[in-house]
Symmetry: C2
Subunit: 195 residues, 2 copies
C-alpha cells in the first residue's frame, strides 16, 4: 500500500509522516534494517503502532516511503551551457548518489515495496522512475533541440543512461565506471537523432 | 546469507534443499508472499524450522534462493545463423521470461536478498547477472567476431540490452516494447565496434 494521498502541510497527518520518517531514518542510522520493527518506530515517533499499520500497511512500506523521500531530487539539474553537458553532469551526479550506500539501500527499499497496483502511476517504483524523467525533461526543455520529440529523447536517455546505472548498482559487483557516462549520453543522443 | 557451498547431489543436504524449494514454490502458488512463514515451509517440507534458519538465515534468503533457481537459464541460447540474430532471439526470450509475473517476482526476490558480501561473487544479485553474461558469452563465442575483445562486447550488451529490459520491469509501468529489442542489440553491437 502507498501512503494515503498527500497530507496537508502542517496538518496532523503531515506531522505524523514527518515524525515517522525522522524516527525511521534515525533507527536506520543506528542499527540493522532487519532489527527494526514497527513498534520501535512508533515508540520513537510518539505514535501508536496501529497508526503506522493503518497508514503504511507494513514496515516494508515505511522503509520505501522514507527511501523515496531520499531519492527525490532536491535541486534542478546543473546548467553547463549545453544539453549534452547538462545530461552528462546530471548523470554523473545521479550515478554518484545512487551508488552510495544510502542511495543503493534506498533503491532496494523501493524495489521491495508492494506493487500490485500496476495499472496506475501509484507504485513507489514508478515514482522513482518519474523523478528521473522529470529531471531529464527539464534539461531537454532548456536548450537546442536534440532530435525527435522530447518524450522520445527522454526514453532513449532512460534506456541508455539511467538503466545501466541502476542495473549495475543493483546486480553487479561494481557500479558503472564514471568515465562511461559521457559515452552513454552520446549514444542516447545518437539514438534519438537516428529515429 | 547464501546457502552453504553446493550440496552433494543426492546427499542429505541436497534433499533438504529440494524439499524446501518445492514447498516454497507450492506455497507461493497458493498464497501471498507476505503470508508465508519459515515454520509453514518447514512443516510442508518435513524439516524443522531451525534447519531452515541455520541454512538460509531468514525467509528473504529462502525466497531469493528459489527465485535464483527460477532465473537460472535451462537451455543454451537458440541458434539463428548469426551472432546478431542469436542476440536478438535471446534478448526477446529474456524479456518475455523476466516480464512474466513469476520472472518479475523472482527478480524482486533476488534484489531483496542480503548483499553485505560485496567484495566476492557470492551475492544472489551477482549470480543473476552472471547468468546473463554466460548466455551472451556463449552466443559471442559461436560465430564471426563482432568487435573488440569478447568481454567488452558482453558489457555493451549488458548496458544497452539487459539493463533497459530489467530497469523497465522493476521501475516502469510497462516492460520494454518487444520491437525495441532489435534496435538495442544493434546499438550494443555498434558501440562495441566503435570502441
Amino acid at each position: 500500500m502507498s501512503p494515503a494521498p498527500g497530507p496537508r502541510p502542517g496538518g496532523r497527518s503531515a506531522r505524523i509522516q514527518q515524525a515517522v520518517h525522522a524516527s525511521t531514518r534515525k533507527l536506520l542510522d543506528e542499527r540493522d534494517r532487519a532489527d527494526i520493527t514497527v513498534p520501535m518506530i512508533a515508540a520513537d515517533a510518539g505514535v501508536t503502532p496501529s497508526t503506522i499499520y493503518r497508514r503504511w500497511g507494513d514496515i516494508t512500506e515505511v522503509f520505501a516511503d522514507v527511501a523515496l523521500e531520499r531519492l527525490r531530487p532536491d535541486a534542478t539539474p546543473r546548467e553547463t551551457g549545453s544539453v549534452r553537458g547538462d545530461l552528462v553532469a546530471w548523470a554523473q551526479d545521479y550515478l554518484e548518489e545512487m551508488s552510495s550506500p544510502v542511495g543503493r539501500a534506498s533503491l532496494r527499499d523501493v524495489v521491495m515495496s508492494g506493487d500490485t497496483v500496476r495499472s496506475g502511476d501509484g507504485t513507489n517504483q514508478f515514482k522513482c522512475a518519474t523523478f528521473c524523467r522529470t529531471q531529464i525533461e527539464a534539461i531537454l526543455g532548456r536548450g537546442e533541440p536534440v532530435g525527435s520529440p522530447v518524450q522520445g529523447v527522454v526514453e532513449h536517455v532512460i534506456d541508455h543512461v539511467v538503466a545501466p546505472i541502476i542495473y549495475r548498482i543493483l546486480f553487479d559487483l561494481d557500479p558503472l565506471a564514471a568515465d562511461r557516462v559521457e559515452v552513454l549520453v552520446d549514444q542516447a543522443l545518437d539514438a534519438a537523432v537516428r529515429v
